[in-house]
Amino acid sequence: MKPAKRVVMLADCQSFYASVEKAEHPEYKDRPLVVAGDPERRSGIVLAACPLAKKRGITTAERLGEALAKCPDVVVIKPRMQRYIDVSMQITEIYKSYTDLVEPYSIDEQFLDVTGSLHLYGCTPEELARMIQDHVQDATGVYTRFGISETKILAKTACDNYAKKSASGIYTLPKENLAETLWKLPVNQMFMAGSRMTRHFNVMGLPTIGSVAQTPLPKLKQMMRRKFGKNSDIQAELYWRIANGIDDSPVRPGTHQVDPKSVGHMMTLPRDYGRLEEIKVVLLELTELVCQRCRGLGFMGHVVTVGCMGADFDRPTGFSRQMKMEDPSNITNQVYRWACRLLEKYWDGLPIRRVGVSLSQLTPDTEYQLSLFDMGREKSMALERVTDALKRKYGDSIVIRAVSKTEAGQALDRSAKIGGHFR
């Protein structure tokens, strides 16, 4: 027997943060509302705008000042990231009451594979989506949109390109109908095609998703090789599969349990940093966070990567470089020494807007190489075990380094935030 086609859905929450706030503040029901970051810092942008605010011309990611100019009576709410995570988990639980195959893709998007449970409801996929949509709306006040198809990529495409624009918020994109639907859209509407890739596709004479899909794969590989060199075969195949809706990835609930490939932290600074000592303070703080997380996960990293982004948007500067340490480590001071070397070697002296540190090539930290030269290792490990335990119990701000008290320090501010916004 030929296996039946899968029924995969991508459920997306409309203006998620704003919807959560509206549900919890019924007094603002009929007013335009935005959730925006701290205007004192550069996170002071619109993170989410409710449909009423969008109607007044406010767009996501614009500066709060611009939003206020367009719509002076808009209600501005401070983000509460932990609350959004909790509501997202609550929605996951609702989805899970319909199928055990639920995979969160971001805080407001989740995949559902209902192939095996559809018959329990004796209805069409669209009717089931409607049921789930009502359920989420009643329980949380959040409006969800559903893209439905037989693969994850098509479900995602159906949601982004059609369901979000349809009145019911539910859209099925059958694979057989791609020629009349998806293929007619311009290539910038394709999943994973950013502005740069769109430009390249246009130059290659591929203005629509259909034109990418219908180029034979060997030919597409050849065309991309001419542009990006011989290592672009996989990229070519990736875009070709996306355009054709070919995707055999499973909806995998345990997907988040895989061991991380790297552990990194990055932050946008409240102002541009132009002095080496200032940058080093943040570098140390980020290294501390990265190593702390590695220690918590039981990993050591072998390769340190440091990235800095220049302050000038119009003339992008900065670097991202990596170096292999002598031995894998998760000890803050050790990793910091290498991170500093990278910074000192590659920083061009221009003001910096964003700094990131990451550790990769992770190995379990149950065994490590004894070093003849580094006698302090056992001591550092013991010390960090204590500081980590304290931080777990009382929060990251309980023990900080002295430099974090200087003007450049960001550790205290960061410990009060999730993803750069208020908890």
Partner: protein
Amino acid sequence: MTTRKKLEGNGLWESSRMMLPEHKATIIRQQLEEGRKDKPNLDPQEMELIERMLAESFHEHRTISLQLYDEYEDVELTGVVTTVLTQRREIKLALGPGEWEWIKIDEIVSVR
């Protein structure tokens, strides 16, 4: 660099998703809690089978795999039974040269 992994398994989605570390940690913690289970009550026949396998391993130095109960995730150990303490209901399982572990017989869920 785009690697082959993006085209395999769940690679496309694992490499493109945006997850807050705090969100991810919550999901993992919850899945762990969901997998939490009580210790199974073994059927007397199953218990007999386990004890027979242990005895066989002890007498004939046969390598066996033991499944040990854990609240979250069962542990599997492979080795040969070298000592049996009937009074304390414990066995000593030799896992390799110079490596062994004492195991309470009541912790064993199954034997292969």
